[in-house]
């Protein structure tokens, strides 16, 4: 009996219900992505977003799917050192580019200063938006940004926190900036 894949997410690269077994093989295309300095050679449905590729194909699940429409920032990763929304980009666009996810920033034993600051400042509650917040905050360190909290809030406005940890997120970012 053929396996029926149900398309839970329009962009997941999983085929619609009712298709033949492994139909995606027919349209899958090869790509090599460099994520956290490691090469991953994959075959993916062309429709696969960078977000779904990172989470489902490469199995790095630190990057989160919130709205999947570019409105919440939970999926923020770095491409060539710049923060982008992985849900609004196709994985196929990013061969020969340097992709960094939260897993590439630090480890529990050797955290990135921004990760340590988020911990020290209690800059999260449920934690779902946190990797996106941290990826955005790390990129912000090398962007034009005024010194005050208002400037940080403006440049962090693309990262929504449903728990409302904003005050401590700003404090964590300012702590890192002041030490830099």
């Amino acid at each position: 009996m053929a396996t029926i894949h149900v398309n839970h997410s329009a962009s997941s690269g999983v085929f619609e219900a009712g298709q033949a077994e492994n139909p995606a093989d027919e349209i899958a295309v090869p790509i090599t992505l460099r994520i956290n300095d490691k090469e991953h050679s994959l075959r993916i449905d062309p429709r696969t977003t960078l977000l779904d590729c990172i989470r489902e194909a490469v199995e790095l699940t630190g990057t989160k799917k919130g709205c999947d429409h570019g409105q919440c920032g939970a999926c923020t990763v770095h491409v060539n050192g710049r923060r982008v929304l992985s849900c609004l980009s196709l994985a196929l666009l990013h061969d020969d580019e340097d992709i960094t996810t939260v897993e590439g920033l630090g480890t529990p034993e050797a955290m990135h200063p921004m990760q340590a600051a988020f911990l020290a400042c209690d800059a999260y509650q449920c934690g779902y938006c946190t990797s996106g917040q941290i990826m955005s905050a790390v990129a912000l360190l090398s962007e034009p940004c005024g010194s005050d909290d208002v400037a940080v809030k403006e440049l962090m406005s693309g990262n929504i926190c449903r728990c409302g940890a904003y005050a401590n997120i700003v404090a964590a970012i300012q702590q890192v900036r002041k030490r830099a």
């Binding site: 349209i27 429409h69 929304l85 980009s89 666009l93 990129a139 912000l140 403006e154 406005s157 693309g158």
Partner: protein
């Protein structure tokens, strides 16, 4: 999302040849150029856009900002919005453009979105984005759900009985005030289109939003030489302080000699079906003293033909105050 063939054309000519196969360059195109993806990928996920071929133009050499021989600026089609807004020459000579871009979207989206993509940014009309609802922009003749539905954020200028969708761009409003020119390369050669002629009113053909034809590739935008000494302001009013589309916005480029306005360019955002240049407001101010009474008169002129919907009458007064305040801010600068 519908399945598509993904290719990366080697050069502009190959991209143009491939795109020329499309039946239309407008809503529902079967071939699409893909760059930042912030509009197109979103609409493809919603099945509002269903191209069968997607052409990745990210790596075409269209990503430079250069001086033009006449002292203006040439902005490549794939220059990212954040790079354009933070470019030193833009901040110094065309600051209204920098202000407008930085008032829109988020840091992540500005890192992705491009000059050409922003020119082609699609409306945020909730009915356009929902294929379960009738929409004349997606399906001509289906009807406009917004006219009888939720229309608080819809347009009040340039609307028709068929479509009242607002153009959401901030960048385009500043470019309208700066009299930008859009350069297109197509199957029949190149052409230069003043931004005022680039976007179309919905009329009875809402799917047709620009003058682009199949195969037309926006290569760059030029800005004329800067108006030396001009004061430039972009003021954007919205429901929250950041990361939100405009309810009303105003771009102003103003020069004052003595007490009188010698040069004035005005465009409005958030209220029009296209980026809304206002020659009516400009003509009330040219040669007149820069004062509050004249600014209010200009604002009245700009909104004289406004046609509100059931939920957005407030936008008329909001847009007037927005423009008057932007003009006063420029005068005080």
């Amino acid at each position: 999302m519908h399945i598509f063939e993904f290719t990366r054309p080697a050069d502009s000519a190959a991209a143009i040849n491939a795109a020329a196969q499309s039946k239309t360059a407008q809503q529902g195109a079967d071939v699409r150029f893909l760059c930042g993806g912030t509009t197109l990928i979103d609409l493809m996920k919603l099945n509002v856009e269903t191209p069968t071929r997607v052409l990745d133009i990210n790596r075409l050499p269209l990503d430079k900002i250069e001086d033009t021989p006449d002292g203006g600026l040439k902005i490549g089609a794939t220059v990212r919005n954040s790079d354009l807004a933070n470019e030193e020459k833009v901040q110094r000579n065309y600051s209204v453009l920098s202000q407008a871009i930085l008032s829109g979207a988020s840091g992540q989206i500005r890192n992705m979105a491009t000059t050409a993509g922003n020119l082609l940014q699609r409306t945020r009309c909730v009915y356009f984005r929902d294929t379960a609802m009738p929409c004349n922009k997606r399906e001509p003749g289906a009807g406009c759900s917004a006219i009888t539905g939720s229309n608080r954020t819809m347009a009040i200028l340039g609307t028709s009985d068929h479509c009242i969708a607002t153009n959401p761009s901030d960048m385009c409003v500043a470019m309208a005030a700066l009299e930008a020119v859009i350069h297109v390369q197509g199957p029949k050669g190149t052409r230069a289109i003043p931004i005022g002629d680039f976007h179309l009113l919905p009329g009875d053909t809402p799917p047709r939003e620009t003058v682009l034809e199949p195969g037309d590739l926006i290569t760059h935008v030029t800005l004329p030489p800067p108006i030396i000494g001009s004061r430039q302001v972009y003021l954007k009013l919205r429901d929250r302080a950041s990361y939100e589309f405009a309810l009303a916005s105003a771009a102003v480029v103003m020069s004052v000699v003595g007490e009188n306005i010698s040069y004035i360019r005005i465009a409005l955002g958030g209220v029009g079906t296209k980026p809304w240049r206002s020659p009516e407001a400009e003509s009330t101010l040219t040669g007149k003293p820069a004062n509050a009474a004249n600014f209010r008169q200009a604002a009245e002129a700009a909104l004289r033909n406004a046609k509100p919907q059931s939920e957005n009458k407030f936008k008329i007064e909001l847009a007037k105050r927005c423009l008057a305040h932007a003009l006063q801010t420029a005068a005080n600068a």
